[in-house]
Symmetry: C2
Subunit: 157 residues, 2 copies
């Protein structure tokens, strides 16, 4: 086991860039780390994007092997769009790119957590900071977070 | 839209218990909130457990309708074990119960985030605080978090 110097100690110390800049490259002879991921029957895993400073969970999307490889390579979040069936470089339309500071894998190797810096402060297509803007209260899902920017302004009419 | 007083303002203000204590009850005549969730073809959604104070993502598991209803009712995390094919009251063996302070739903209504208070400070079956103890560095998944308690001590030999 090698210890990542930037990650020892308090988990809150997320401010150093954990990347070794040529280390994340997905060269043809270095894809073993991708083989370690337990892709589901559709070849996907869920990826959680978490604000690297506040810890807020911003969104959850899906990644296939190419999406994760590309995320590691370019250090911006790239997901697999299940609806459009293609790679989705987050922010390609909205400008709301997610700079990726860290990539973690869980014990079962089937979920990814990204520590991201959210450009524009908006992760959700509704124009909110986070997709998780509804809280269960009094037996109802109550919307508790404001729209920061009109989606029409983000995506055009 | 109703605004939840405890949730306005800074997201970091997670210290108030967002529950209305009889509100989370899953009475037979109040299951509309469960109908709002977009269960997948297996009747499941992923649920992220996040430490309510540090924001650390502790684990991701799956919930079916009964698991989410029971989580809301007893205010402790109850998941659906896909391997054992039964409800899994987190901590039933380990004692590492998760007290649930808040339940959120995302814009697509297909992912849950729980704000939890992790009893024993250990969420992972490996004896670590979080299941996400591996970081991608130099093209390898490096284990960066310590085992806090031997799993044999947690689960017995």
């Amino acid at each position: 086991m090698r210890i990542a110097a930037g990650s020892i100690g308090q988990y809150n110390d997320r401010h150093s860039d954990g990347f070794s800049h040529d280390a994340m490259a997905n060269s043809p002879d270095n894809t073993k780390w991708l083989d370690s991921v337990k892709w589901d029957s559709a070849g996907l895993v869920p990826a959680i994007a978490q604000d690297w400073q506040t810890g807020r969970v911003l969104m959850v999307a899906w990644m296939n092997r190419d999406a994760l490889a590309e995320t590691a390579r370019c250090r911006e979040a790239v997901y697999w769009s299940r609806s459009r069936k293609k790679l989705w470089h987050k922010g390609e339309e909205s400008g709301h790119v997610q700079a990726v500071h860290e990539i973690r894998l869980d014990c079962d190797a089937d979920v990814i957590v990204l520590q991201v810096e959210q450009r524009g402060g908006i992760a959700c297509h509704t124009g909110r900071e986070s997709c998780f803007y509804r809280v269960l209260q009094d037996g109802e899902w109550e919307t508790v977070d404001p729209v920061l920017k009109d989606p029409q302004q983000i995506y055009g009419a």
